[in-house]
């Protein structure tokens, strides 16, 4: 059996990748994908703990996260399309209308 720490390390690496991508990338879709990556890193640690402790709540939590992520993807992509239509760019640094 694969020890728990492996799953946690993989989840941590996935999350760190997501954070790094979120911070580094300028393309709004890439940033969006980085967020999904972070969510999945977290999901992985949830299910790992659920399997380890034979507790169902971790798996239930994962479903919740997936539902929220799906809803977020729908809304987020819609926003991205709306932004692209008005700003004609996907670069987040240029979506700065509220900046001083």
């Amino acid at each position: 059996m694969v020890p728990l720490s492996y799953y946690l390390a993989l989840g941590g690496i996935l999350f760190a990748c997501g954070v790094t991508g979120f911070l580094i990338k300028r393309n709004i879709i890439t940033i969006f994908m980085s967020i999904e990556l972070m969510l999945n890193g977290v999901n992985l640690s949830f299910v790992a703990f659920a399997a380890q402790w034979h507790a169902l709540s971790g798996q239930v939590f994962v479903f919740f996260v997936m539902v929220v992520a799906a809803a977020e993807a729908a809304v987020g992509l819609a926003i991205i399309i709306a932004v692209y239509r008005t700003r004609e760019t996907l670069n987040v640094d240029r979506v700065n209308l509220l900046k001083l």
Partner: protein, 656 residues
């Protein structure tokens, strides 16, 4: 069942007059304004006469409560009026002399701007003065006390475009505040120890006290009351405002700064006689202050050349006599002199106003002279007043002044020192008054011939010119002069003993410790005759010296002045008291306020605290602002860093 006299109407009538003239007077003609002012003031006088007529049938003291004013715990102060012999005398003097001066003012102020304003203030003054006189408790009295101060301020500064008048008004107000401070503290002490400010309750509480041998509560209250009286009645060391108050129109000087308001202090001390009689130290201070003021002001009066300034110092000096009388326990004599003084000093001021009017606004006696034949009515009425104040029998001033000097000598609180200074002051009084009389009415006219041109009349002086030459005043001014002249002659004939007996119920509490010396024994009769003889001699001495110096040999005063040198200069400059106060009090206060309070505290501490904290907040915010760049990724970075910090903390906590 005591009849309801509606005492509240007396003060209220002039207030209504003041309100009508003050609010609507701008649109009224001069005739309407004067009619309103005279009607309401005259109505108050008629009511006072009506009350006086009923007085003998009255249950004295007569108290009328109108409404509750303040009720806090056990303490209560009402709008209540109090009538006894003392307030009746004051009431008649204030309304009577006040009404005459109102009449006179119609003529005097006729050509002036702000006619309605003047009469509104004048009526307002009457309201406050009558409140002061009729109040049944110290608090209501204090309202009147402050109110007359306000009216005095407004009227001194009546020609407010003139800097000196505005400054004089402020000076009077500020100096009076110092006195009022003492008065207030005295009131606080009374509330604390007697739980009331009503005359009846305070005095009955005080009656339980014995005579204080040293100093104690009653002495402190008495001294503080005296501080208040010294401010209002221009006694040492707070007299400095009164000479400057002569910047006001002459009727104001007559009404407020001679006949009525300045005597409020004497009235207050006489009203509080129950307290003073049990505090010999306070009584002695009153006597000493009065005596010194009488002498001090009289010496200054000798050298003044402005006709109104002479009268101002004379007023201070005469007020000193009144306090001397109160200080030796002869309160009724103080009030007697107050009454006769109201007659002759009111008249002196009005006559002086008439003289000033005649010569077109000139107030310097050195530029008058020989007016005897040109303004005979003014001359004769002023002569009556001059003889009255100098103390010639049978004029009014003789009786009251002689009674005071007699009491000063024989009263258990008296001393020959008071008497000697008093007699010397009487001599000086006679001298400076006849100096004024000779300089103004005798000799050659020393002004320029066509008196009455614009360059003569000062900005503030009555602007009655244009008809050139020296001329007698109109009838409306002369009639009050004549009435007051009659009173100045006859006002003293009532006699000090009868006056004392009349006031006795109000001024001699049953447990009074002071036995006013009544000349019953033949021995005392003899001494009284002797004392009277001396004071008459003083009056004649003053007349003789003035005649010698200012009529017979007019060059002599200059030689004497030169011989005296520095002393003469000191007297001429009023002993440099104003300068001394400026150095001792005004300058340190102004400097302290400017350098310490304004620059030091207000600007460098309070403002600086505020400015610096605002500056600091801005500097910190400027730095912190860079955190919120508006860049999404920098926000995300902060979130990530924060999350990392939390995680690190938790890990660290877990591994510990």
């Amino acid at each position: 069942m005591t009849p309801n006299l509606h005492l509240w109407l007396i003060p209220l009538l002039p207030l209504v007059g003041a309100a009508i003239n003050g609010l609507l007077g701008k649109r009224f003609s001069r005739q309407t304004v004067s009619a309103v002012a005279l009607a309401f003031c005259g109505a108050a006088f008629v009511m006072a006469l009506w009350i006086a007529a009923q007085f003998s049938a009255l249950n004295v003291p007569h108290l009328e409560t109108l409404a509750t004013w303040i009720r806090a715990g056990a303490f209560q102060a009402d709008f209540a009026f109090y009538l006894d012999q003392l307030s009746l005398v004051m009431l008649l003097v204030v309304t009577g002399v006040g009404f005459l001066i109102h009449i006179y003012a119609v003529g005097y102020m006729w050509e002036e701007g702000g006619f309605y304003r003047f009469f509104s203030y004048l009526n307002l003054f009457m309201f406050f003065m009558l409140t002061l006189v009729l109040a049944s408790n110290y608090l209501l009295m204090f309202i009147g006390w402050e109110g007359v101060g306000l009216a005095s301020y407004l009227l001194i500064g009546f020609w407010f475009t003139k800097d000196s008048a505005a400054a004089a008004g402020k000076k009077a107000f500020i100096v009076n505040r110092i006195g009022d401070f003492g008065f207030l503290i005295a009131l606080f002490l009374m509330i604390q120890h007697f739980g009331s400010l009503n005359f009846a309750q305070v005095f009955s509480s005080v009656s339980n006290f014995g005579v204080e041998s040293g100093t104690g509560l009653l002495t402190s209250i008495g001294l503080l009351l005296m501080v208040g009286a010294a401010g209002k009645s221009a006694q040492l060391p707070l007299y400095v405002w009164l000479p400057d108050a002569m910047e006001g129109p002459t009727p104001v000087s007559a009404l407020i700064h001679a006949a009525t308001m300045v005597t409020a202090g004497v009235y207050m001390v006489a009203r509080s006689h129950t307290i003073f009689e049990r505090a010999p130290v306070a009584l002695m201070v009153v006597a000493i202050v009065g005596t010194l003021t009488a002498l001090f002001a009289a010496t200054i009066g000798v050298c003044q050349t402005d006709i109104k300034k002479v009268l101002a110092y004379s007023t201070i000096s005469q007020l000193g006599y009144m306090f001397m009388a109160c200080g030796v326990g002869a309160f009724s004599m103080g009030i007697f002199h107050l009454m006769t003084h109201a007659f002759f000093k009111g008249l002196l001021f009005l006559a002086a106003g008439s003289v000033i009017h005649a010569v077109g606004g000139e107030q310097d006696m050195r530029r008058m002279g020989g007016l005897r034949t040109k303004i005979p009515w003014t001359f004769w009425t002023m002569t009556a007043a001059t003889f009255a104040i100098a103390g010639f029998p049978p004029f009014a001033g003789f009786f009251s002044k002689d009674a005071i000097l007699f009491q000063a000598f024989t009263s258990p609180y008296g001393s020959w020192v008071y008497w000697a200074i008093g007699v010397f002051t009487a001599f000086l009084t006679s001298f400076y008054m006849f100096r004024l009389w000779f300089l103004t009415f005798f000799g050659e006219y020393r002004g320029e011939e066509s008196a009455g041109h614009d360059e003569h009349s000062r900005a503030g002086a009555p602007a009655l010119h244009g008809h050139g030459g020296i001329h007698e005043s109109p009838k409306v001014m002369l009639i009050p002069l004549v009435i007051l002249a009659v009173l100045s002659v006859c006002g003293g004939w009532i006699g000090s003993e009868r006056f004392d007996k009349f006031l006795a119920p109000a001024l001699h509490s049953d447990s009074a410790t002071v036995e006013t010396a009544t000349p019953t024994h033949t021995e005392e009769r003899a001494s009284e005759t002797l004392l009277t003889g001396v004071s008459i001699m003083a009056a004649f001495g003053g007349l003789g010296l003035a005649w010698l110096l200012y009529h017979r040999r007019p060059q002599l005063p200059q030689e004497i002045a030169q011989a005296l040198g520095g002393f003469y200069q000191a007297v001429l400059q009023k002993y440099y008291v104003d300068e001394l106060y400026a150095v001792l009090f005004v300058k340190p206060l102004v400097d302290g306020s400017t350098k310490l309070l304004w620059h030091g505290i207000d600007r460098d501490v309070i403002d600086a605290t505020l400015d610096n904290s605002a500056d600091g907040a801005r500097t910190v915010s400027d730095a912190a602002r860079h955190m919120q760049s508006g860049n999404i990724r920098s926000y995300a970075g902060w979130v990530a860093a924060g999350a990392a910090a939390v995680v690190a903390y938790m890990v660290w906590m877990g591994t510990r």
